[in-house]
C-alpha cells in the first residue's frame, strides 16, 4: 500500500482527493458526509458577502448516451450567511481534525479581505483559496475571473491575503486568459503558497431553439456561465502543464482541477505535477461515493509502478511536455488492424478516406475500384489473409452473407502517416494499434534542423526562397 497522504504548502491531507469549492461543499453536513466517504479535503463553497442566486442555474451537454459530458453553471458564491458557514466550518474541523478544510474566499476591498481571512482562521480553516476564477456574475462586479485576467490586480490582492493570513494562501486561477503563465507569475510574485486551477471556462451551454433563449434559461433570458466536467480536462491539463514546466512556478504546490472523474484522471494530473486534485462535476453527477474507487485505483496504480507515495508520481510526466520544435521528426508509427478483433464496421476506412490520408483499403477491390473510391496510391503489399470480420459475416440468420474478405480493412503502411485517427474512431478497444516502425530518418527535431540550417522544405513561396537566397550569400 502506497502512502497517499500529502502536504500541500503545509496543509495536510490523508489523500490528494479534495472536493472543489462548489455545491458539494455548500454545507457542513455535506462536507462531513464527504469525509465519511473518504475525501481527504474540501474547499468550502466560496465565502463572501451573501448574494442572490437565479433559478435555473445549470446546463449540461450530452454526448450520445452519456449525460453531462460537460456542465456549466451560473451560480454565484455562497448564498448562506457568513456566520452560518463559519459555525459549520468550526464544527467540521472539530470532528475531522485530520482532514483539510480550505476556505474559498471572494470579497472586494482590502478591509473585507482582512476581515474574512481572520474570521475563516478563527473558525479553524486550514488554508485559504482565493477565488480569482469565477467567470460569471462576480466578474461583472470586478471580482472572480476579472482578477485572474489582470496580473497586477491579482498580485496586489494576493499580497493582501498573504499579509493577513497565518495559514497557507492558494490562488485559484481562471482559464479565461490568453496565457496562463502571466497570472501564474503574478501568484509567484505575490508570495502566495500555492496555485489551484482551472476554474470554469466561460461558456454558453446551448440554445433553446423553440424559445430562442440560451441555456440554462432564467425566464426569458440567460447569461454565460462556467464550463466544467470531463470535457474540460484537456484544457485543464494543458494549463497545469504550462505552470509545472515553468521552472519558478513549478516550485509552488499545484492543486489540479478540471474534469477529474476517476483515479486515472487524478494520476494524470499528479504525474503532470499536481500535489492535490479537486473534484466537483463527477461528484455532482455520481455522488461522494466515487472517491472509494479513486483511492483504491490510485493506490493500486502506485503499487503496480513500485511507487511508495504521491511524491514518487508527482511531476513524472512534466519533463516530457515539450514544445513542438523539440519533437522527434524521425519517429514513426503506423496503424495495424487486428483481424481477430475487427467487427467490420469500417468506420476506420471512412475516417481515413475523408479525414486523413486515404491509406486504409477495403479488401477484395480491384485497382480500378480502389482508384474510383478515392485512393491515389495502390499498396504494393495486399495482405493474403482470410478477412471476414467477425461481425461482418451474417452468421445470425438469413442476412445476405458477405463475400469472403469483404469487411476487414487493411493499412497501406507505406502511405500511413501514423495520425491515430483510425484508432480513435474504432469502437473496439485494442483492435487498431499503432506500431512503431523504422522511418529511415535520423532522430532529429525541427529545432535541430534550424540549428544545422536544414529548416527549409521545398515547395513554398518564391518570396521566401529569394529571401533565403539573399541571406545565405
Amino acid at each position: 500500500m502506497a502512502d497517499l497522504s500529502i502536504n500541500f504548502a503545509g496543509i495536510k491531507s490523508p489523500n490528494p482527493f479534495w472536493l472543489a469549492s462548489a455545491p458539494p461543499t455548500n454545507t457542513g453536513d455535506q462536507v462531513m458526509r464527504a469525509f465519511d466517504a473518504g475525501w481527504g479535503g474540501a474547499v468550502w463553497k466560496t465565502l463572501g458577502n451573501p448574494i442572490v442566486n437565479v433559478s435555473s442555474r445549470f446546463g449540461g451537454i450530452d454526448y450520445g448516451n452519456t449525460r453531462m459530458m460537460g456542465l456549466n453553471n451560473i451560480e454565484l458564491i455562497t448564498d448562506r450567511p457568513l456566520e452560518v458557514n463559519l459555525r459549520e466550518i468550526r464544527e467540521v474541523k472539530r470532528r475531522y481534525p485530520n482532514h483539510a478544510v480550505i476556505t474559498s474566499l471572494m470579497v472586494e476591498t482590502k478591509e473585507e479581505w482582512k476581515e474574512i481571512i481572520q474570521r475563516a482562521e478563527e473558525a479553524g480553516s486550514d488554508g485559504h483559496e482565493l477565488n480569482f476564477g469565477c467567470p460569471h456574475g462576480m466578474c461583472e462586479r470586478g471580482m472572480g475571473s476579472a482578477v485572474s485576467s489582470e496580473p497586477k490586480v491579482l498580485r496586489e490582492i494576493a499580497r493582501w491575503a498573504v499579509e493577513f493570513a497565518t495559514k497557507p494562501v492558494i490562488v485559484k486561477l481562471s482559464p479565461n486568459v490568453t496565457d496562463i503563465v502571466e497570472p501564474g507569475e503574478a501568484v509567484l510574485e505575490s508570495g502566495a503558497h500555492g496555485i489551484s486551477l482551472i476554474n470554469t471556462i466561460k461558456s454558453i451551454m446551448a440554445i433553446d431553439l423553440d424559445r430562442m433563449v440560451p441555456l440554462p434559461r432564467v425566464g426569458d433570458a440567460s447569461t454565460n456561465g462556467g464550463y466544467c466536467g470531463p470535457a474540460v480536462k484537456p484544457v485543464a491539463l494543458h494549463m497545469v502543464g504550462e505552470l509545472t514546466r515553468h521552472p519558478a512556478i513549478a516550485k509552488l504546490p499545484i492543486s489540479g482541477i478540471g474534469g477529474i472523474s476517476n483515479w486515472r484522471d487524478a494520476a494524470e494530473f499528479i504525474a503532470l505535477g499536481c500535489t492535490s486534485v479537486q473534484v466537483c462535476t463527477a461528484v455532482m453527477h455520481y455522488g461522494y461515493r466515487i472517491v472509494e474507487d479513486m483511492i483504491e485505483g490510485l493506490n493500486d496504480f502506485l503499487d503496480s509502478k513500485g511507487m511508495k507515495s504521491i511524491l514518487d508520481l508527482r511531476g513524472r510526466a512534466a519533463p516530457q511536455y515539450k514544445n513542438w520544435g523539440e519533437l522527434d521528426l524521425g519517429y514513426r508509427v503506423v496503424a495495424d488492424i487486428s483481424v481477430d478483433k475487427c467487427i467490420g464496421c469500417q468506420l476506420c476506412y471512412t475516417a481515413c478516406m475523408d479525414g486523413a490520408h486515404q491509406c486504409i483499403h477495403l479488401p477484395g477491390r480491384t485497382e480500378e475500384e480502389a482508384r474510383k473510391a478515392g485512393h491515389t496510391h495502390i499498396p504494393k503489399l495486399i495482405p493474403d489473409r482470410a478477412v471476414v470480420a467477425k461481425g461482418g459475416a451474417a452468421v445470425h440468420g438469413g442476412g445476405a452473407p458477405h463475400a469472403p474478405g469483404s469487411r476487414v480493412p487493411f493499412v497501406d503502411e507505406e502511405e500511413c502517416i501514423g495520425c491515430n485517427l483510425c484508432q480513435l474512431v474504432c469502437p473496439v478497444s485494442g483492435c487498431i494499434t499503432m506500431k512503431e516502425v523504422p522511418s529511415g530518418k535520423p532522430h532529429e527535431s525541427w529545432n535541430d534542423r534550424v540549428n544545422r540550417g536544414a529548416d527549409y522544405v521545398p515547395g513554398g513561396l518564391h518570396v521566401t526562397e529569394m529571401e533565403r537566397a539573399k541571406r545565405s550569400t
Binding site: L347, G397, G399, A400
Partner: protein, 450 residues
C-alpha cells in the same frame, strides 16, 4: 392535388386480437434516442445488405439520434413505403439485426425494427404529407389484390403521378398485413392505418369485395380482359390461396381448421370464441404454424405443434420457436398425423400420429394425441385461376407467377407481378422489395420506355 383516400371500413372491437399485448411496444422519444445513440453508424453497413428493401439503416438511425425524425422516416419510406409495418413484422433477427456487427461483439444488436416503427409512426403522426405526388401522367394502372405488394406498388405509382385502382375480393385491404400478422406484433387497425396513409399519397382508388375472373358473371366480378382493356398496365399482387389440407381420414367436418383462416378470424371476427377448446394440435413446422400455436398458447389453450421432421428441419425461425415455447407452446417433432379422431357425434377428440424417421413413417409406431381442435398449417394453395385469366401470364410447376426477376414483368407485356404469388410466400419486406422492382419497370413502360 390531393385525392380523398378510399374509405376503409373499421373492424369491430370485440375480437380476440385485442386481448394480446404488443411484444415490442412502441418506443417513446427517450427510448428511441437512447437506442439510436448505440448505433455505430457503420460504413457500407451489413444491416443494409441484409434488408431486402436496402433501407439505409445507419442513416435513418443517426437522424433519429439528432432529432430529425421526419428525415429518418423519409430515408426509410423512400426505400420501403411499408416501413411502419415492416418495423413491426419483419423477422429482424434473421435480417438487419441478425447482420448487425454488434452480434459478434457479445452485445445486443441494435433494435432496428423498433427504431424504424418509431420514426415512421412519429413522422406521419406529425406530418402525413411527407411526400407529394408528381403531376398526373394520365396513365391508369389496375392492381389485383390489396396485399403488401399491391399497396406498396399503388403508393409508388401514385407518387409518380399515375392513377391506381386496387381490386380486392375481401372487405378489408392489406392482405396478410391486416389479417395474417400475429396480434402481438401488429393489430388490424394499425395495418389499416398504414394502408390508409399509403393510399392517400396520390390518386388511388380501392374497390373492395370485387373479384377478378376470366369471365365476369356478376356485378362483384370484373374480367381480366376488361382490366387489360381499361388500364394502361396491370399489377398482380395475388398473394396465396386457402390453406392446404392434410388429406387424411377424419379431416372433413367441424373442429379442423386452416391456420391462416383461423388467424384471420382471431384478428377480425368478433364472433370467434374458443369455448370448450382446451387442447389444440397444430400440424406443421413453418412460421404460420408457430404463429397460430403461439397465439393459441397465449390464450391459455394447451397447444402442441406436431411436425413430421426433426426440430432442426423446421422452416420456422428459431427465435419464433423459442419465443412461443416461453409462452407455453409445445413442440412435438418426428410425428406425422394419419387420422383426425372423432367421437360418435363427430366431435374432434384427437389426432392419430405415427412416429417418423427422416420424415418417413415408422410402421406400427402410432399414438393418439388428445385434441378438441386441429389446426392445419402445411402451406397454402396458389391463386392460379386469377393469374391464368390474364393471357400470356405463365405459372411454374408450383403454381407461382413467372416474372423476369429484374423487372417483375410477366409473359404479358402489360402485366407485372410481385409478392407471395411470385415468390411462393415470403415476408412483407420481400413483397415490398419485389413491388418496387415492378413499379420501376412499369413506370419506365408507362412513360414511354420499354
Amino acid at each position: 392535388m390531393k385525392h380523398n383516400s378510399p374509405h376503409i371500413p373499421d373492424v369491430e372491437g370485440d375480437r380476440l386480437e385485442v386481448l394480446y399485448e404488443d411484444k415490442k411496444p412502441p418506443y417513446d422519444d427517450a427510448e428511441a434516442i437512447a437506442e439510436a445513440n448505440r448505433c455505430l453508424y457503420c460504413v457500407d453497413a451489413p444491416c443494409i445488405k441484409a434488408c431486402p428493401t436496402a433501407i439505409d439503416i445507419p442513416t435513418f438511425i443517426r437522424k433519429i439520434g439528432t432529432g430529425n425524425v421526419k428525415g429518418a422516416a423519409r430515408t426509410i419510406l423512400t426505400q420501403n413505403l411499408l416501413g411502419k409495418s415492416c418495423g413491426q413484422v419483419c423477422p429482424v433477427e434473421v435480417l438487419c439485426a441478425g447482420a448487425c456487427v454488434y452480434n459478434d461483439w457479445s452485445r445486443d444488436p441494435i433494435k432496428i425494427g423498433r427504431l424504424q416503427r418509431y420514426a415512421v409512426e412519429k413522422a406521419i403522426a406529425e406530418d402525413p404529407q411527407l411526400f407529394a405526388p408528381k403531376p398526373s401522367t394520365g396513365k391508369r394502372i389496375a392492381l389485383v389484390g390489396a396485399g403488401p405488394a399491391s399497396i406498396a406498388a399503388a403508393g409508388w405509382l401514385a407518387l409518380e403521378g399515375h392513377a391506381a385502382a386496387i381490386y380486392e375480393k375481401k372487405f378489408l385491404p392489406g392482405g396478410l398485413n391486416t389479417l395474417g400478422i400475429a396480434p402481438y406484433k401488429m393489430k388490424v387497425e394499425e395495418a389499416l392505418q398504414e394502408v390508409t396513409w399509403v393510399l392517400s399519397l396520390g390518386n388511388v382508388e380501392l374497390y373492395e369485395g370485387v373479384e377478378i375472373v376470366a369471365v365476369s358473371g356478376s356485378p362483384d366480378e370484373v374480367s381480366a380482359s376488361a382490366l387489360l382493356d381499361q388500364y394502361d398496365a396491370v399489377f398482380l399482387g395475388l398473394g396465396l390461396g386457402p390453406d392446404s389440407r392434410l388429406k387424411i381420414p377424419g379431416e372433413d367436418g367441424g373442429g379442423v381448421v386452416g391456420a391462416t383462416h383461423l388467424i384471420e378470424r382471431l384478428k377480425a371476427d368478433p364472433t370467434l370464441r374458443f369455448k370448450g377448446v382446451d387442447r389444440v394440435v397444430v400440424v406443421g413446422g413453418g412460421n404460420t404454424a408457430v404463429d397460430i400455436a403461439h397465439e393459441l398458447a397465449l390464450l391459455g389453450i394447451d397447444t402442441t405443434m406436431v411436425y413430421r421432421g426433426g426440430d432442426h428441419e423446421m422452416s420456422a425461425y428459431e427465435h419464433e420457436l423459442a419465443s412461443g415455447k416461453v409462452d407455453g407452446m409445445k413442440v412435438l417433432c418426428e410425428r406425422q398425423p394419419v387420422a383426425v379422431l372423432r367421437d360418435n357425434v363427430g366431435k374432434v377428440i384427437g389426432v392419430r400420429v405415427v412416429r417418423t424417421e427422416d420424415k418417413k413413417p415408422v410402421p406400427g409406431a402410432e399414438e393418439d394425441l388428445k385434441a378438441d381442435m386441429v389446426v392445419v398449417a402445411v402451406g397454402q394453395s396458389r391463386m392460379t385461376e386469377v393469374a391464368r385469366s390474364f393471357p400470356g401470364v405463365e405459372l411454374d410447376m408450383r403454381g407461382r407467377v413467372i416474372v423476369d426477376p429484374k423487372t417483375g414483368r410477366t409473359g404479358n407485356p402489360k402485366v407485372w407481378s410481385a409478392g407471395d404469388c411470385v415468390n411462393g410466400g415470403k415476408e412483407v419486406v420481400n413483397a415490398v422489395a419485389e413491388a418496387k422492382i415492378a413499379v420501376t419497370s412499369m413506370h419506365a413502360f408507362l412513360t414511354g420506355g420499354a
